[in-house]
Symmetry: C2
Subunit: 428 residues, 2 copies
C-alpha cells in the first residue's frame, strides 16, 4: 500500500478540521483508495493546539526547515492564511520537492505565478481547491469537467460572512450594524470584518476562479470591488416587495468586448437559482458555451467543509504521478492583450425620493430615456409620502453603467426633482 506523509502548517480552524478528517478516516482511505495517509509533521506556534488534538510531541516541528527536510513528508498542507510567512513556507516546501495543498486565497491570488513556477520547476503538485468556496468543488469542475467549454460567465455568492449578514438583514429586518455585531459575537465575522464586508475575500476568490475560467490571468487589481457596509434595510425591504433578494455577488464575464470582473452587492430576482442560497451557504453559477448553466452549491467555509476540499486534494495528489498547471501564462500582471470592460452592463434598481408634484415622474422618465435607459418597472410608494416627497422605485432593463451614472447625476442635480437614495445592480 502506498504511504503518504502529510505536514500541516497551521492548526487553526481549517488545519484542525483537516487533521481530524485525516485521522478519523485513515482506515477508510486505506480501504477505499489503498493509500495510508499519515500526518507526519505539524507546524504551529501555539503548541497547545497540537497537543489538544492529540498530536504527539515528536511530530510538532519547530520550524519550516524541519518540515522540509523530513523525508516522511510528501505533501505540505498550508492553512495558515495571510501572505507571510505562508508564502516563504510554501516556496520552501516546493523547493524541497514536496507537493503543496493550500486553502490560502490571498496567497494564491497574489502569488500563484511565483508558487506555480516553483512547483513546475520541482515537478511538484500545487493544489488549491480549498482556497475558493470551501467544500464546493468549483476549481476541479473548471479544470477537469467544464474545460471543454468557453466559459461565458460566472456569478458567485462566495463569501459566507456577508451572505450570513445579508440573509439575516433580509429575514429579521434589522440593520447592517446590528447583524454585524451579532455575527461577531457568534464568530461568523472577524473582529476586523474588513476583508469580508468590503469584498476583498470575494475578490481574491474571483481572481483565482476567473483566471481559470477565462484562461488568462485576472489579477486582483483588475477587479472592481464594492462592499456591503452601505446596504440599507430600506432597500432590502423594497427589494423583497419587488421579488428580489440582496446578495454580495462576484461576477465574471467573458464577452465580445472583453472581460468584466466585479464584486458588489446586487439584487437577485427570486426566480434565479442563486436567490435561494442563504445563510453561510455559497454557490457559483457558471454558464459555458456547451454546458449551458451549471450551479455548484454548498458550504463555503468551516473546518470540515474546507477540510473536505483539502483532503480531496491530498488524495488526488497521492493518486497522480504527474501534475497539470495553469492553462495560461500565469504571470503577476494581466496579459497586455486582455481587454477589460469597465462600463458594466446590467439592470439597475434606482430608489429616488421624488418631489410629490405633478410632472415629476414624466421629467424623470425623460432623463432616463434621453440616456437610452429603458425602464422595466416603476413603483411609487404612495403610503410612504412624507415632507412633500414620495419614494419612487425604478428597475431598468439591461443598460450601461455609464448611462445610469449620467442619468442619476442629472436627476440629482436638478432641484425640485428628486434625491437619489440608492443605485443597486440587478441580476435576473
Amino acid at each position: 500500500m502506498k504511504k503518504v506523509g502529510v505536514a500541516i502548517l497551521g492548526l487553526g480552524v481549517v488545519g484542525g478540521g483537516t487533521y481530524k478528517i485525516l485521522e478519523e478516516h485513515r482506515e477508510f482511505y486505506k480501504k477505499t483508495h489503498e493509500i495510508d495517509i499519515a500526518v507526519e509533521s505539524v507546524l504551529e506556534l501555539r503548541k497547545e493546539r497540537a497537543l489538544a488534538l492529540g498530536i504527539s510531541e515528536n511530530k510538532i516541528a519547530s520550524n519550516i526547515a524541519e518540515v522540509c527536510s523530513n523525508p516522511e513528508v510528501d505533501i505540505v498542507v498550508e492553512v495558515m492564511g495571510g501572505v507571510e510567512p505562508a508564502r516563504t513556507f510554501v516556496l520552501a516546501a516546493l523547493k524541497a520537492g514536496k507537493s503543496v495543498v493550500t486553502s490560502n486565497k490571498e496567497l494564491y491570488c497574489k502569488y500563484s505565478h511565483e508558487l506555480e513556477k516553483t512547483a513546475k520547476k520541482n515537478k511538484c503538485g500545487l493544489f488549491f481547491e480549498a482556497s475558493c468556496v470551501g467544500g464546493v468543488p468549483v476549481i476541479r469542475a473548471l479544470l477537469d469537467n467544464l474545460q471543454g467549454n468557453k466559459i461565458l460567465s460566472m456569478t458567485g455568492i462566495i463569501n459566507g460572512t456577508t451572505n450570513y449578514i445579508l440573509t439575516k438583514m433580509t429575514n429579521d429586518e434589522v440593520s447592517y450594524e446590528e447583524v454585524l455585531k451579532e455575527a461577531q459575537k457568534l464568530g461568523y465575522a472577524e473582529a476586523d470584518p474588513t476583508a469580508d464586508v468590503e469584498g476583498y475575500d470575494a475578490a481574491y476568490k474571483l481572481s483565482i476562479l476567473s483566471s481559470l475560467a477565462f484562461h488568462t490571468k485576472i489579477p486582483f487589481s483588475k477587479i472592481y470591488r464594492e462592499g456591503i457596509t452601505d446596504i440599507s434595510i430600506e432597500d432590502i425591504n423594497y427589494g423583497k416587495k419587488l421579488g428580489m433578494v440582496m446578495k454580495l455577488l462576484a461576477v465574471g464575464k467573458n464577452g465580445e468586448n472583453g472581460i468584466e470582473v466585479r464584486v458588489h452587492p446586487a439584487f437577485v430576482k427570486n426566480a434565479h437559482p442563486l436567490a435561494g442560497v442563504n445563510d453561510s451557504f455559497n454557490a457559483v453559477f457558471i454558464t459555458g458555451d456547451s454546458v449551458d448553466d451549471v450551479m455548484l452549491y454548498g458550504r463555503g467555509a468551516g473546518a470540515l467543509p474546507t477540510g473536505s476540499a483539502i483532503v480531496g486534494d491530498i488524495i488526488y495528489c497521492a493518486k497522480h504521478d504527474n501534475f497539470n498547471y495553469s492553462t495560461f501564462s500565469n504571470s503577476e500582471e494581466a496579459d497586455p492583450a486582455t481587454k477589460f470592460v469597465t462600463n458594466f452592463n446590467s439592470a439597475y434598481y434606482i430608489r429616488l425620493s421624488a418631489r410629490d408634484k405633478t410632472g415629476v415622474l414624466s421629467k424623470i422618465s425623460s432623463i432616463f430615456s434621453k440616456n437610452n435607459i429603458s425602464v422595466a418597472q416603476v413603483v411609487q410608494e404612495n403610503d410612504k409620502r412624507a415632507n412633500g416627497s414620495v419614494p419612487l422605485l425604478l428597475i431598468t432593463h439591461d443598460t450601461f453603467e455609464k448611462s445610469v451614472n449620467k442619468a442619476v447625476e442629472e436627476i440629482g442635480s436638478k432641484a425640485n426633482l428628486a434625491k437619489v437614495e440608492s443605485v443597486i445592480r440587478v441580476i435576473s
Copy 2:
C-alpha cells in the same frame, strides 16, 4: 503539441453535439490545453448523418474493426445507447488499447464490471461522466473532490423527461397523460417513454452514482423503482397548498443499518434546494460527513451539455498518462457483505377520502398512533365535501414504510372509515 485522435460511435443527438464541440473548439483546445484533438473516425449506420455534419467520406468507418485498427484513434467515444452492439464495440476498442469515453448509462450500469476489467487489463482509461446527469459534474465530484468523505446520502432529480412532465403538471395543472403527449410532440419524451417515466433511466444512474459514493457495487437489481405514471393532478395541487412540489427522486443512503437505494416520486418541501430544480434541469444533493451538504445543478441532457461532459472526459484522458479505476470490487453482483435496507424511513403524505362523520378523525388518528406513526400535520378539505366524504390530508413525521403500509391497510379495510387515495413519500 500532443495530438489526440478521437472516434465517435453513433452520431445521434449526443454524438452530433460532441462532434460539433470538438470541431468548433479545436483551435481553442490547442491554445488552452496544448492538445490537438481531431475526430479521425466515426461509426454510424446512417451515413447521411455523418455527411450532414460535414465529415469527409474517408473518416466514416464501415465497421468497428476498422475503428479499432486505426492507429490515428486514441480515444473511442461511445454514444450509441443501449446494451448491444455498444458493449461489443466498447470491449473491442479497449482490447485494441483505446481509451473509452461513454455516455451510455444502461451499458455502464449493467456491464461496468466487464468493461472496467478489460480497461484495466489493457491499461486504458474508461470515462463515463456523461452517463449521469449530462453536463452536471457529479461523477468527478464524487471521484476527485468528495472522495475524502463518507457519503451519507444523495438525493437527485436525475431524469429530465420526468422533471419536465412534473413541472408542467404543477405549473399548468394538467394531467400526466396530456403533458406526456405534448412532451412527445416536442421531442422531450420518447415515443415509448417507459425508460424515463417508469424510472429505469434514473435507476441506471443511481446504480452508477451510489456505487461510486458508497464504495461498493450497487447493482440495478437492488434499486427499488416506482414511476410517475400514477401521479394525479389532485395530489400535485394539494401538495402545492401544503408547500411542497412533486419530483421523481433517486435516493441513496448509507446508514447504520445498511444501504438504501430507491427511485420514486416524492414531495419535496419548498425550502429544500431541490424544490427549485424545474423543467429539464437536474440536480444532485449530496451529504458527506465532512463537506456537509453540496448540490450540483445543471442540464441533465441535451446534445451540447452531454457533449460538454464527454469532451471534458476526452481532455482529462488526454492529459493523464495513467488511469484510476473503481475504489471497490466492481463485480456484477453486490458484495454479499453489503446490507440493503428495504424498510425505508421517510415522512409520508397520505390522502384519504374520509367518511364525513364525527369520530372518524379520532379513529384514524388512533390507527396511526398504534403503528407508532407520529402525524405532523392534518388538513381536512371541508370545501371539497362530496357524497358523504371529505378529503383528509396527513403528513407524518419520519417513520418506517412498513408501519405506514400497515396503518394504511387497516384504514382501508374498515368500512365506513376512509378510502386511501394516495400515499407519497415526503423529503424535507
